[in-house]
Symmetry: C2
Subunit: 394 residues, 2 copies
């Protein structure tokens, strides 16, 4: 469906001059009514200033505005960084007539450089002036770094003949690996959800979406997933049935965004689903899927469209969990390439080579050990990934 904001939300994005190339780099999301808020933050022990500030402010469970910038991570910036992030929130709060504590801040970009806080101060009046119910794409553009495309997903839910909206905005596309609250994602909804429930659902759905993707195995210092629920749809999420429906809608928004992140991964030319099944435990399944999805050798073979299943089984073997090599089957889409640990020969290889030419395919690894499974989404590893990251700061 069209990318719209839920009732009572507005957004905007401007070019404040943080980015040298003149592109949009400062964005704002505003809720007309106080919104319940919950967040999941990076598990990296080095945390950016906005993460440190938001972790405190989110404890109150309420939020009116999020100001976000790209081009500078405000990380490893010490006391000055903390002063700058508070100042960013204060500029916005003052311009919108809000209490400072109701404004959250998010930053992404280069680590270790001072924030050009004067540029942000100068841009905030325009930023608030431009707030609009149509502004979500501008906001999405303002938080892009190496992303090629803005990422916005909207879904509509329905309960007792009333509708509510969930809209999520996210950015990638490097320093992305699972098992953390990876990257930036902002979600708005006009449903009403109690803070504890909101936090629980957000955490559960982050595990199932953003924590199931990887681009390069690195984890950012600035990652956060934030949700705001302002209740203006008059739908209250209370009972078990409502709860399930809301969680399903949220899952759709977050999973779709997570997949878009991988498709737009730095230098990515292919989108690959790695499924591990019949594992002894969920942990084992995830550990193996993650190891295969992060292997540089597997990912470069995908880029080369090479049916090099030996690298996949070698990655399975080094994942640090028990496997029985002589029981492993591997499928590329629906073609069996490995049966009981042995290659299936030339006919299978020809079929698999054709599958590898596609933009999107799946690898299924059947361990024949138990009943557990996990899926991780990844991309290939191209020469462009290296070029993008060799030149990132220049």
């Amino acid at each position: 469906m069209k990318t719209i904001l839920p009732k009572g939300f507005q957004a905007s994005g401007v070019a404040s001059g943080i980015k040298k190339n003149g592109k949009k780099d400062l964005g704002l999301i505003f809720s007309q009514a106080p919104a319940r808020a919950a967040a999941v933050f990076t598990k990296n022990r080095v945390k950016a200033a906005p993460v440190l500030l938001d972790k405190e402010r989110i404890k109150r469970g309420v939020c009116r505005a999020i100001v976000a910038n790209s081009g500078n991570a405000n990380c490893c910036t010490g006391d000055q960084g903390m002063r700058d992030v508070r100042a960013m929130a204060a500029f916005v709060a003052s311009s919108l007539g809000l209490s400072e504590e109701l404004v959250l801040v998010s930053s992404t970009g280069v680590i270790g450089e001072p924030m050009p806080i004067d540029k942000i101060e100068a841009a905030v009046p325009d930023l608030t002036e431009l707030l609009s119910t149509d502004g979500v794409l501008n906001f999405a553009r303002s938080i892009m770094t190496t992303d090629m495309l803005p990422k916005v997903v909207t879904r509509q839910g329905q309960l007792d003949d009333q509708t509510f909206i969930v809209t999520g905005v996210a950015k990638g596309s490097g320093m992305i690996r699972p098992d953390m609250a990876t990257m930036l994602c902002f979600i708005c909804t006009d449903a009403e959800v109690a803070p504890d429930l909101l936090q629980n659902i957000l955490f559960a759905e982050t595990e199932q979406s953003f924590n199931r993707i990887t681009i390069d195995g690195d984890t950012s210092t600035n990652d956060m997933v934030l949700i705001m629920a302002n209740g203006l749809s008059n739908i209250k999420i209370e009972h078990q049935k409502q709860h399930k429906h809301f969680q399903r809608i949220l899952n759709e928004v977050m999973t779709t965004l997570a997949k878009e992140l991988v498709k737009d991964g730095e230098g990515a030319t292919k989108f690959i689903e790695i499924e591990v099944k019949s594992a002894g435990s969920d942990h084992d399944a995830h550990q193996i899927a993650d190891t295969v999805a992060n292997s540089s050798l597997v990912k470069t073979a995908f880029f080369g469209e090479d049916a090099n299943w030996g690298r996949i089984i070698a990655a399975v073997g080094r994942a640090g969990v028990p496997v029985e090599p002589a029981m492993i089957d591997i499928y590329f889409d629906d073609v069996m390439m490995v049966k009981k640990g042995l290659g299936c020969g030339k006919v299978a290889e020809t079929a698999v080579t054709n599958i590898l030419k596609k933009d999107q395919f799946s690898i299924s690894i059947d361990l024949h050990m138990g009943n557990c499974r996990a899926t991780v989404f990844t991309c290939d590893f191209s020469t462009d990934y290296v070029k993008i990251n060799a030149d990132y700061r220049s």
Copy 2:
């Protein structure tokens, strides 16, 4: 010193036709006298046929010959692979008039393809015919895959006016990561060492050399480090003092080979020493050094000669061990780039940018938390790495 073999050892290498390009692909090391032998094997749970065979045969602690091939890993080849590896040993044993159990086998190359055992059988007479005390470079060339250079290191030890020799041969240069017995390495010595002592010293020195390097974070199914000690120098390693001297010489050989492997890593243009000091434990220090050394973002920044220390501190933060970001100092060679978690500014950055232009430099990360340290050797991550691995099988 010149690359020679210890007393009583001979080696050879030929082109048997396993490699499509006509380069050497089959090698042999032979000891005129029965040699004490010890080995360390891959921890990958998927193990190649020669690893499975050698793990059994090495239990007797004695060995006369090692036959090794490149171009085919003999891994995921099932019962036929086990028959083939036994046949390889049998051809050599028969040609040299040895018992089969005294021949070990090693393979490296593509996983999952059947061994062209007829080609090996046809080449073995030449291989044994060409055995020579000067043959070590030919052997080193015969085990190369994507390596650019053969790797042979010789050191001489002296005890009570008598000398002994330790010579090691190794190959890299992809699927290389630490904490495993990584890659292939064959070491010969004419010292006499008891089997238990030989195994203990080999294990300890593997930890300090090959398990301290990484190229791409992947671990091979075929890795092994093997040592043969034939005692023909008449030097017996018994007392504590002799033991220490022998271990120091072995350490020199293995560390030098390990560094050569990294310098010749796939697509590598730079050799980087990552040192973590003042850590709370050896494990923490190693975990952090390893995480930094394996980070694709850190390695691509090295390739781009970009002083992007933010990626280093972000990798420190995601290593999964406790750190205090505001206490971390980071040096590039002897230039302090980060002090107490903050960048040291433009003058430092200019100096560091010049250091990054060198082929070889060190990163030192001081955590200020304890007394433990660890060093890991790594290389940069270049567009050529991706090209080499996208095209590997074609």
